[in-house]
């Protein structure tokens, strides 16, 4: 009898011990709900097969990704071990101590040279040029364009276009050409429209759309080191860029006033627009015949150049950071060591993830894998991003408040809008003692 009890207790103890040890071998990564998160889950399943550590990718819709993450971080919650967070969050998350400092890890593995320079600069480093790193570039992303090859290559259209504009109809090399093409294909009576652009002002959709124009017109949002904005955000180039974006809005399908990646892909799949702006991360859905009936007739091009030949695109994408409140930081670091290996990065790209690894990006194999990978490779070396200061959310909302009524309803002039924005931003920076 006594033996039996001892055995029972021992068994119970063993079960408990096992369950706690299994518990410690679990990691949770938080990300937004989209295809790349599913690819990441597939990738980490391989990590589990290799090491026995179970990794779960938890997701939430994009619209409340920011709110949910920061609510969890501000409450110092340990629900997530790692987060694949937006580039503009690093300032807020690092200054508040939410992210673990990865500088040592970064230097030890020479990630400065392993990852594409732009991804290191915008996803990992904060403050700008400080040599302090807070995340590992995970999903590289930038804005590119898709277009209807069958519309562009129709001989009748080509002839009519040449007659009207004096040059050949082809994927645009400049924003001015893009405007002409959008105007050319804009035929509301045929239910065909020129172009699909981002206009959603609830998070960063509209702002990133406008950034594509601003950066390619040679403009900047401000001096990220000194926080000077006057004369930069309201520069001559930016005024022209904003006017161009407003003009393009005139060639969008009806009701195009709250549109982001979902609607812009629909513009191609539903035969609405000739060209559509979107993140590269959403292009796999366009080459898949199951999700795009026009898959065979969909082509891609990089964000065109501005009038002076500058060519930049708005950065999307995220880096992966370890959360300070996680109880599995050591295990998370081991996972990251596996994640940055060349083989893992290669596998990540094969699964559909956009690796930031320079070596993989430069390989022929990667560039020929899909119709848009080459454009992606070219773009990833010329991207720029929004402010990453802790108060970025206020700056974003101020930009939405000023720019949206001008773009969608033509209220005020581009110059007035940007002057007002410069004043708003200046006031915000003053409030946080960034400038005197």
């Amino acid at each position: 009898m006594r033996n039996r009890i001892t055995g029972l207790v021992a068994g119970l103890g063993l079960t408990l011990a096992c369950s706690t040890s299994v518990f410690a071998q679990e990691l949770t990564i938080f990300w937004a709900e989209w295809d790349p998160a599913n690819y990441l889950q597939e990738l980490v399943n391989e990590y589990e097969a290799e090491t026995g550590v179970k990794v779960t990718v938890e997701t939430t819709p994009w619209s409340d990704f920011q709110t949910k993450t920061f609510t969890e971080l501000n409450a110092r919650g340990s629900a997530y071990d790692m987060v694949v967070g937006d580039s503009q969050w690093i300032g807020a998350a690092s200054e508040a101590g939410h992210y673990v400092d990865l500088t040592e890890f970064f230097n030890k593995h020479d990630l400065n040279n392993v990852m594409a320079p732009a991804t290191v600069k915008y996803y990992a480093e904060y403050p700008s040029s400080s040599g302090k790193y807070w995340s590992i570039p995970a999903e590289g992303d930038a804005v590119g364009w898709s277009y209807r090859k069958d519309w562009f290559e129709d001989p009748k259209e080509m002839e009519a276009f040449k007659a009207k504009y004096g040059y050949d109809l082809a994927p645009p090399a400049t924003w001015a050409q893009m405007r002409d093409i959008a105007e050319f294909f804009h035929r509301p009576d045929q239910n065909r429209y020129g172009i699909a652009i981002y206009t959603d002002n609830s998070y960063d959709g509209l702002v990133m759309g406008v950034e594509n124009a601003i950066f390619s017109y040679g403009g900047e949002l401000g001096d990220y080191a000194t926080y000077k904005v006057d004369g930069i955000i309201n520069s001559e180039q930016n005024v022209k860029a904003l006017e161009m974006y407003r003009e393009l809005y005139g060639f969008t399908p009806p009701g195009w006033a709250k549109t982001f990646f979902v609607e812009n892909n629909q513009a191609i799949t539903e035969n609405l627009a000739a060209m559509s702006m979107n993140y590269f991360a959403f292009f796999p859905a366009l080459t898949n015949e199951a999700s795009n009936p026009n898959a065979k007739n969909t082509g891609f091009f990089a964000n065109p150049a501005g009038p002076d030949g500058h060519q930049f695109a708005a950065l999307g994408g995220q880096g992966i950071s370890v959360i300070s409140y996680s109880e599995n930081q050591e295990e998370s670091m081991k996972f990251l060591e596996w994640f940055i290996k060349d083989e893992t990065q290669k596998r990540w790209a094969e699964l559909g993830g956009y690796t930031a690894s320079a070596k993989v990006l430069e390989s022929e194999e990667f560039q020929n894998a899909t119709p848009y990978n080459k454009a992606f490779y070219e773009t990833m070396f010329k991207v720029k991003d929004f402010w990453a200061t802790p108060e970025y959310a206020e700056l974003l909302i101020q930009m939405n408040q000023r720019v949206y009524p001008y773009i969608t309803a033509g209220q005020g002039s581009a110059k007035e809008v940007l002057d007002a924005l410069a004043a708003d931003w200046n006031a915000t920076f003053k409030k946080y003692n960034r400038v005197q």
Binding site: Q66, T67, F70, T71, L73, N74, A92, E95, A96, G97, P188, N191, D200, N201, S202, P253, P254, G255, W256, A257, K258, L272, P390, E391, A393, E394, I397, Q401, Y404, P405, T408, A409
Partner: protein, 301 residues
């Protein structure tokens, strides 16, 4: 005094046998509720009042500094906030008026002997039972300029309900009217059925016209209960968030609660947003008080 008016415990009851007095039973029921109320309502309310005088940000480790009335001053000087309030006021007026007209009208139609009255009333109540988010998503599809059924049914072509800045607020209000008119209808129906029939008979004997009967008998007698419906709907409309947030992102539909949400949970300006929440609270209390005063006056008549 209260203990005197309370009914005493039956000495044969189980509670009495266990030695529980009337007082302890009352406490047993009331104290948990009061504790719950204090912990989850009163305490946060007072705590946030304190925060509204600081520059506290829940997203940072920086300590909160006392800034006095600065937050209130900044908010009341912000033209965007004023435009948010103006939008909210316009929305409340349009949406509540619409609901009262439609809801009371339908109640008048239903206040007679018709076949399947119960079934019709139940079906009319359905919109009210749906979730706000679901209604928002459905109406977004109904309003769609390219394939929405509303434009198709009324032959409006490509009319842009939600992306037209002048129309969007009315579109949101229309959805709200569709959803909440049944609520006004339900209360009005209760009020209408309580009007004594002999008053109408007397009016008929005196050959009073239908309009006269409506304004002299029906409306005054239903008014108190209609006022209650209006108070509820005004408070709700003032706080509207989900519908407007889901349907459109036009600056012309940014009601005050959306601005408050952005300030609190996107910008993490916790102190400032507490101040804004207090401004909203004071406004809602003031408006409700005016209504309640009026309601008492109506009741006295």
């Amino acid at each position: 005094m209260t203990t005197l008016t309370m009914t005493t415990l039956d000495p044969r009851s189980r509670a009495a046998r266990r030695g529980l007095s009337d007082l302890s039973i009352r406490n047993l029921f009331i104290i948990p509720t009061i504790i719950f109320l204090i912990v989850f309502n009163i305490f946060p309310l007072l705590y946030s009042l304190g925060y509204s005088f600081t520059d506290f940000r829940a997203s940072s480790n920086a300590p909160a500094n006392f800034v006095g009335l600065d937050n209130y001053r900044t908010l009341l000087n912000d033209p965007f906030i004023w435009s948010n309030f103006a939008i909210t006021a316009k929305y409340v007026i349009v949406s509540v008026t619409g609901q009262v007209i439609v809801g009371f009208g339908v109640a008048l139609l239903l206040n007679r002997e018709i076949p399947f009255k119960g079934l019709i009333t139940t079906l009319l109540l359905l919109p009210m039972m749906l979730s706000m988010a679901v209604v928002g998503l459905f109406w977004k599809l109904l309003y769609d300029p390219s394939f929405g059924i509303i434009n198709y049914a009324f032959g409006l072509g490509r009319f842009e309900w939600l992306s037209n800045p002048d129309m969007a607020l009315y579109a949101v209000a229309l959805t709200d009217i569709w959803m909440w008119s049944p609520f006004v209808m339900l209360l009005s129906l209760a009020g209408l059925s309580a009007v004594p029939k002999h008053l109408y008979e007397a009016a008929a004997i005196d050959r009073a016209g239908p309009i006269y009967t409506f304004f002299r008998i029906t409306l005054p007698l239903v008014a108190p209960i209609l006022m209650i419906a209006i108070i509820f709907r005004t408070m709700e409309a003032f706080k509207t968030f989900d519908l407007a947030y889901i349907l459109t992102s036009q600056p012309t539909t940014e009601v005050i609660s959306i601005r408050l949400y952005k300030m609190a949970f996107q910008e993490w300006q916790t102190g400032m947003s507490c101040a804004l929440a207090y401004i909203v609270l004071i406004m809602v209390i003031a408006i409700t008080n005016i209504y309640v005063k009026y309601l008492n006056k109506v009741k006295e008549r």
